[in-house]
């Protein structure tokens, strides 16, 4: 990607020196005019708000009263005297650690199944992708809260097998798991990305290893997994970033309860900011969230050199 971007740039630099400064680029002004919408958006709606939010985090901003600088007080309070912060961090990590790997494993297994189907692949893919299409909506959250209630559909299925059900959403031990299940149910996008990755693995690798007598399991660990590792890496990073921000289903289905067992970080952020209007305190929470995500992503990126395998010899561009 970067290589293709750099190519015309170096060509321009190699051009005769007598050209004026701006002539080094073929469209110095037009280029800026074209990217102007994004540039304004980046400055006004991303960079400036980020700085603003950092500033707020050192104040006790409430929208109504004048802002007061409080130094590090918000941060010290969060880290030393805020039980709800601790709870929400625990719940969020539980959610991330359970939902992201489960979702990826299911997505990979189903993608491998689909990859081998010749007939009817698009019908299967549609059926399996459908939950992901609608999954983020409030409609599905409402469906879920009915399905996993005491009289819900899930207990009726269990009853068929003679298992006594319970209120999955009202029990603090299982409420988070019902939300995790909702997330895992929507593995469709990861699956489609895996499927695209699987299609890129040259089939002669499998044929050659079959000749050498490698079994299916060996092939999976020695060929499929290494060849798919860049895709896996991408899915993992994006999955973690999204999972840390989980909000709608926790807000609609359980509203953080029972006994704060589904009180995810984003809910706490929402509560402080928009129920109590403590925007300063909430900004500090938001920055801590950003740092947590950055640290987790950096840890994953740091370990990637041990398990992500980049194929170097093909060299050609993958995308058309």
């Amino acid at each position: 990607m970067n290589r293709t971007a750099a190519a015309p740039l170096t060509e321009a630099k190699a051009a005769p020196k007598r050209r004026s400064f701006l002539k080094r680029w073929d469209a110095p002004i037009a280029g800026y005019l074209f990217i102007m919408p994004w540039l304004l958006g980046f400055i006004g709606l991303t960079a400036y708000p980020m700085i603003l939010s950092l500033y707020y985090s050192f104040t006790d901003y409430t929208l109504m009263e004048p802002m007061q600088w409080v130094g590090l007080r918000n941060y010290t309070k969060i880290f030393t005297a805020d039980d709800k912060f601790v709870t929400s961090v625990k719940v969020t990590f539980m959610y991330v650690l359970a939902s992201v790997p489960l979702k990826l494993i299911v997505a990979l297994l189903v993608a491998m199944l689909l990859n081998r189907a010749v007939k009817g692949i698009s019908a299967y893919r549609s059926a399996i992708y459908f939950p992901s299409l609608i999954g983020g909506s409030i409609a599905v959250s409402l469906l879920w809260s009915n399905m996993f209630g005491v009289d819900g559909f899930f207990n009726k299925i269990l009853a068929v097998f003679g298992i006594q059900g319970k209120g999955w959403i009202t029990d603090p031990h299982t409420a988070l798991w019902s939300l995790i299940l909702l997330t895992v149910w929507q593995f469709g996008s990861s699956m489609v990305i895996f499927l695209a990755g699987l299609k890129q693995i040259p089939s002669d690798l499998y044929e050659a290893s079959s000749v050498d007598g490698a079994g299916k399991l060996v092939q999976f660990f020695k060929i499929t997994l290494p060849m798919l590792s860049p895709t896996l890496y991408f899915n993992l990073i994006m999955g973690v970033i999204n999972a840390f921000q989980m909000f709608t289903s926790a807000y609609v289905i359980t509203n953080g309860g029972p006994m704060n067992s589904t009180f995810v970080y984003a809910m706490y952020l929402y509560e402080r900011a928009f129920s109590r209007y403590q925007l300063g305190y909430a900004s500090a929470l938001a920055w801590i969230m950003l740092l947590m995500i950055v640290v987790v992503a950096a840890v994953i990126a740091g370990t990637s050199k041990y398990w992500v395998f980049y194929e170097t010899e093909t060299g050609g561009r993958k995308r058309k």
């Binding site: 469209a27 006004g44 939950p131 489609v192």
Partner: protein
């Protein structure tokens, strides 16, 4: 070669799995026709379908019907899709085709914002829009999309850049010879060839704004401006002795637009995800 029985087993597995995946949706359709007492009884469909779950549900919010909420939501969607179309294609053409100072620097910032968790921006953006007096209007959705920074904006720019780079540059060269301006090249040559990617962008723009529950919750607070999602939550919160049938019926209707988009544009959909690694 695999044997026939292996292939059959394979298809049986996939069929069973597909059914498990869509079973909740099938149950949902049945449940939307049930009365409260029948909801807890087994069986997918009720003995007597209660069609007035749909008609009563449509009027469940006092003083309004869901017609209003759908009009609001579709109005918002059209505005957001149009602004996204204009801003994202211009930016993608700039990054994908033109050379200008600091291009690499800006592009790397674009890549960083691609990863930036949106929730960090919620509070300061809310404070800004509050000061501008934009609360309870649709401007907090439309203006960011006009600046390619709305829900998924950076993703759309990225996806379009990838596509624009794939269009042969020889086409521009000949147009330049004929005296075509950059805007002319963008409008007459690159845009028409980018249509498949634009369709993908429009689909995801539609879906993500439909599901942007947190955004709607924050910025819209009078019922006459409510979107469908907010109306659903209102029914869920306000009804005592909850009418699950009505609620499930209205929820079911609310996923119809997304389903139709999926059915008619599946090809663009799947390609969009596979090529850009877009989240669903």
């Amino acid at each position: 070669m695999r044997t026939k029985s292996q292939k059959t087993l394979h298809h049986v597995l996939l069929t069973v799995f597909s059914l498990v995946m869509v079973y909740p949706v099938i149950w949902w359709i049945g449940a939307s026709l049930k009365s409260n007492s029948e909801l807890s009884s087994p069986g997918l469909f009720p003995s007597v379908p209660k069609w007035n779950n749909f008609t009563d549900g449509w009027k469940a919010v006092p003083g309004h019907t869901f017609t209003d909420f759908y009009m609001n939501t579709f109005g918002l969607e059209i505005a957001v899709m149009l602004t996204t179309l204009i801003s994202c294609t211009l930016v993608a053409f700039g990054f994908g085709r033109l050379d200008f100072p600091l291009k690499k620097f800006w592009f790397s910032l674009l890549m960083v914002t691609l990863m930036l968790p949106g929730q960090v921006l919620i509070i300061p953006q809310y404070a800004m829009f509050h000061q501008l007096g934009w609360i309870n209007t649709y401007l907090p959705f439309i203006v960011p999309h006009l600046l390619a920074s709305g829900a998924g904006g950076t993703f759309f720019v990225f996806l379009l850049i990838q596509f624009v780079r794939g269009i042969p540059p020889e086409l521009d060269e000949s147009a330049k010879m004929d005296g075509c301006s950059w805007f002319g090249i963008y409008w007459r040559i690159v845009m028409p060839l980018t249509v498949p990617a634009i369709v993908t962008v429009m689909i995801f723009c539609f879906l993500w704004n439909w599901d942007d529950f947190l955004g709607h919750l924050l910025y819209i607070n009078s019922v006459d401006k409510y979107t469908v999602g907010l109306a659903l939550r209102m029914i869920n919160d306000s009804q005592s002795g909850q009418q699950w049938g009505q609620l499930l019926a209205m929820s079911l209707v609310s996923i119809v637009p997304a389903t139709l988009v999926f059915v008619f544009a599946q090809k663009y959909f799947v390609e969009g995800i596979a090529k850009s690694g877009i989240k669903g």
